[in-house]
């Protein structure tokens, strides 16, 4: 299709795809990758509110046990009698916070959101390869989100719980929790046994599995689309090594999603069968639960689930963060007014991280009872991933070296990403060692590590992307003033929240404890726990600034020009917001690498990728394809 379009363009004909006119085809069941991208972003913006409220509730429960929260009493009279959270209610918050954040925030906005919107434009395509598939992937994901919300009601609300209970014994609902209490990792047998294993093990778990299975399907469809689009629909001149690093990141992420989500989908189906069909994939024989033996199950392996889950779960970490790395590289270069340092090395590193990410899942399982010999192999492979990660960090700093940095809000968040990625990633050197996991496994040290690196670093990548691309998406600028206040509170806030987690880890504080009151060895943590809670509340409240800025600017922001940041890639050659078919039928040809800033001899300090004019056309070294790395 792209080829045909070029031919037409070169014959001076312009073929345009008309935009749909009806509201439903335009905004709801849209085939336009840009609308679908925004839909994904709005889904993430909704889901993250749920996830954040849950984290604040958890913090309050840990710092001030017994706090009466009026609204909880009204909404969940059983799970929070008198407004005071029960331990099982707390654990269901842990589960749902993790699930919602990992799947519906960190996997939607970075890839389905910004990737959907900007990958086709950045490679010079008019849409995704399969627009209908694209629409389906969003709506399937949306259904997954509705199901996970329904899980909250099915366990938390007695009436809804009563309805779902009619579906069968394994759907027993209304236990008062806000979903399952198995953590986002849902380890069986706890997650497989049903209501005999305690509250929150009925309908919530089934719906949780169904939601994730649906989500897997949506992600899989999206991944197919991304890969096909990127490989087949690049415009003339857009060689692989001229692609913006964002596209490399989305491409790698799509490959990871394509190979990892099916494994989780399979695992989820097996787990569901164990619960509702009496199979025993993960349930061994001879169990004795809550005062009685478990009949009819035999031969299952709890470790099999862990292998399936983490075979997906580890790549998932990179699915969350690679798009953030791409956006950060892109934004750093733009506001540094410098080409990305070591473009080729960045491409290799992102691919190396993605591929190595498939060989390290066992590091989540050192203490699981898995063969201790395979643990050694997993451990050494795990620390090897530090090498491409370090290469990326060096190159980011190299990009800023000798720069002329413009401190826009997007740039602040991109720099924040680098800082947080280092802070969170580097403790992987501790946790990746088999020996050191004897103490740190399942402590707050782990919680600190993954929240910094896959949680807030990824989110910083998305904040940077939002502030950067908002003008293109909505045709209006976001407020830089509010954006900067938002940055400062958030940047200091997330460090104040997650650095003390390491200290708690050093004390030996286990994760997923509803209270720390039972153990003497945790009594020194009290000050830290409260400090973190206060920091978390301030940081969460500060996000109101972001939401206000986002929705206010959408309607009231200053009108955005075509290229407000003086950036180089193709999305900045078209109006803000872009027309329905992106390039108004005139597909650009690409002549330059993606980051030609401050080229000596060029009239401006940036050269658009599609700039074929005489002055810049012949400038040496700007043709991209990775350069030879030795110039200057």
């Amino acid at each position: 299709m792209a080829e045909a379009t070029h031919a037409e363009v070169h014959h001076g004909e312009v073929h345009r795809h008309p935009a749909p006119t009806g509201f439903i085809r335009k905004y709801i069941f849209s085939l336009d990758h840009k609308v679908i991208g925004i839909q994904y972003i709005l889904l993430a913006l909704t889901a993250v509110v749920v996830g954040m409220i849950m984290s604040v509730l958890m913090r309050v429960n840990l710092s001030w046990p017994g706090t009466h929260i009026k609204i909880l009493e009204t909404l969940f009279p059983q799970g929070a009698p008198g407004g005071v959270m029960t331990p099982e209610f707390y654990l269901s918050l842990v589960t749902m916070h993790g699930t919602i954040m990992v799947f519906f925030v960190l996997t939607t906005a970075p890839q389905g959101g910004f990737g959907n919107y900007f990958l086709p434009i950045q490679i010079g395509a008019e849409d995704m390869a399969f627009p209908v598939l694209n629409m389906m992937s969003f709506w399937v994901t949306f259904v997954g989100f509705v199901v996970i919300l329904f899980a909250i009601l099915a366990e938390g609300n007695a009436t809804v719980g009563g309805w779902v209970s009619r579906l069968g014994e394994s759907f027993a609902g209304g236990s008062g929790t806000v979903g399952p209490i198995g953590g986002w990792t849902g380890y069986p047998p706890l997650s497989a046994l049903g209501k005999i294993a305690g509250p929150g093990q009925g309908a919530g778990v089934n719906l949780w599995i169904i939601s994730i299975a649906i989500f897997c399907v949506g992600s899989l469809l999206g991944a197919l689309n991304f890969i096909t689009t990127l490989l087949n629909m690049r415009t003339r001149g857009m060689s692989l090594m001229r692609m913006p690093l964002t596209c490399w990141a989305w491409f790698t992420t799509a490959i990871l999603a394509l190979l990892s989500f099916p494994v989780l989908l399979g695992g989820g189906i097996l787990l569901l069968l164990d619960r509702i069909a009496g199979t025993s994939f993960f349930i061994p024989g001879g169990l004795y639960v809550s005062g009685s033996t478990v009949p009819l199950h035999n031969g299952g392996s709890p470790l099999l689930w862990q292998h399936l889950f983490w075979f997906f779960g580890h790549p998932e970490v990179y699915i969350a963060i690679l798009p953030g790395m791409g956006a950060t590289s892109h934004i750093l270069s733009t506001f540094a007014r410098k080409p990305v340092f070591g473009y080729r090395a960045m491409v290799f590193a992102i691919f190396a991280i993605g591929m190595l990410g498939f060989f390290v899942w066992g590091h989540h399982m050192f203490m699981s009872g898995m063969s201790p010999y395979s643990a050694v192999a997993f451990s050494i492979l795990t620390l090897s991933i530090g090498v491409p990660s370090a290469i990326k960090t060096f190159n980011w700093i190299g990009t800023l070296w000798g720069a002329r940095i413009r401190f826009t809000t997007a740039m602040l968040f991109a720099i924040g990403f680098v800082s947080l990625f280092v802070a969170g990633g580097i403790t992987g050197l501790v946790l990746g060692q088999t020996s050191l996991d004897f103490f740190f496994h399942d402590t707050y040290f782990v919680t600190a590590h993954f929240h910094l690196v896959m949680g807030v670093a990824s989110i910083f990548g998305m904040f940077a992307a939002t502030y950067f691309w908002f003008p293109k998406m909505f045709g209006r600028m976001m407020s830089e003033g509010i954006g900067k206040v938002h940055f400062w509170i958030t940047f200091l806030g997330v460090y104040a929240i997650f650095v003390p987690f390491h200290a708690m880890g050093l004390l030996g504080m286990p994760r997923r404890y509803a209270q720390f009151t039972e153990y003497e060895f945790l009594k020194n943590s009290k000050g830290l726990v409260t400090f973190v809670t206060v920091a978390a509340i301030i940081t969460v409240v500060a996000q109101v600034l972001f939401y206000f800025n986002f929705f206010w600017s959408m309607f009231k922001g200053a009108p955005a020009p075509e290229n407000p940041w003086e950036a180089t890639t193709l999305e900045w050659t078209i109006p803000s917001p872009p027309p329905h078919d992106n390039f108004a039928g005139i597909i650009p040809t690409v002549y330059h690498g993606p980051y030609e800033f401050s080229v000596p001899g060029a009239p401006n300090d940036f050269i658009m990728q599609s700039d074929g004019d005489g002055v810049v056309a012949d400038l040496e070294g700007t043709s991209g394809n990775g350069g030879n790395g030795h110039r200057h």
Binding site: L193, M367, R404
Partner: protein, 281 residues
């Protein structure tokens, strides 16, 4: 803004490093033979981590401070990178990280890649929601037969001990783990219901207990005293209070205890729990 951000990054770095070096929040002191080796491996690692973290953050703060756009018309340096630098930092980080990875297998290998030494004292550990059962073989040193079908919590047969087995007559099942000082201990870890995890911070030791598996682990405790044993794998609503005590006893006190029949064992164990205080934290 650039200077402010540079300073902010430096201050965050200093505070983060301070949190580790202040000593206010550190491991409880170790009580196992491998504990000091564990602690020194952690110290080496955290020094490497600390140096890398500080260097990267100081470097980031520096470029942010130094290379801000000062508003004149000067352009940034035009450079696509430097292959020699890429090769150097790739090799340097690879050597450091892989060396750490290899060093980081030593404590692991000494515990988990070797069998328990001859003469190790065996205890069967059976976890359940939300308590711990420790099964001692008694005077004869032989565990009585257990069978999951015989488990009956209501009649206090928590581990499914077969009363008809002569070897079971002198066995004791109690809720406290007692181990001898300076003698290797082998635990046989099992779970009745869901996955749990055995964690004693002072031991520098952790291992999941997985339903359907018998996991053999071993360690040597070196310091007499009473310690808290926590569950470290989410096991249900009362996970946070699935607690037991581990007593490390002088050899003679230990030998005397484990030779006692069940009821006296129980009583004596309670005395010992009162005798030894928890460490000061």
């Amino acid at each position: 803004m650039g200077r402010l951000l540079g300073i902010a990054i430096w201050v965050i770095t200093i505070l983060s490093v301070w949190m580790f070096v202040s000593g206010k929040w550190w491991f409880p002191s170790s009580i196992s033979e491998h504990g000091p080796r564990y602690d020194s491996q952690f110290l080496i690692t955290i020094i490497v981590v600390g140096i890398s973290f500080t260097a990267a953050q100081i470097g980031l703060g520096w470029v942010v401070w130094k290379f801000r756009d000062s508003g004149d018309k000067a352009r940034a340096t035009y450079s696509h990178g430097n292959n020699r630098l890429e090769i150097i930092w790739t090799i340097v980080t690879a050597v450091i990280f892989i060396s750490l990875a290899v060093m980081g297998q030593r404590v692991w290998a000494s515990l988990n890649l070797t069998k328990a030494p001859a003469g190790a004292y065996q205890v069967e550990v059976v976890a359940q929601q939300f308590s711990w059962n420790f099964h001692y073989p008694g005077k004869d040193g032989v565990f009585g037969r257990t069978d999951p079908n015989l488990i009956d919590d209501s009649s206090l047969n928590f581990v499914g001990l077969d009363d008809t087995d002569p070897n079971a007559k002198d066995d004791s099942v109690v809720a406290t783990l007692a181990v001898p000082q300076n003698r290797p201990v082998e635990l046989i870890l099992r779970s009745k219901d869901v996955t749990h995890s055995f964690f004693v911070p002072q031991l520098r030791f952790k291992q999941d207990l997985v339903p359907g598996m018998n996991i053999h682990v071993h360690f040597t405790a070196t310091t007499v005293g009473k310690y808290e044993l926590a569950c470290a794998e989410l096991c249900g609503m009362n996970h946070y209070k699935m607690k037991a005590y581990m007593l490390v006893l002088p050899q003679n006190e230990f030998d005397e205890l484990v030779a006692l029949p069940q009821e006296q064992f129980q009583a004596r164990k309670d005395e010992l729990l009162n005798k030894y205080p928890l460490p000061n934290y």
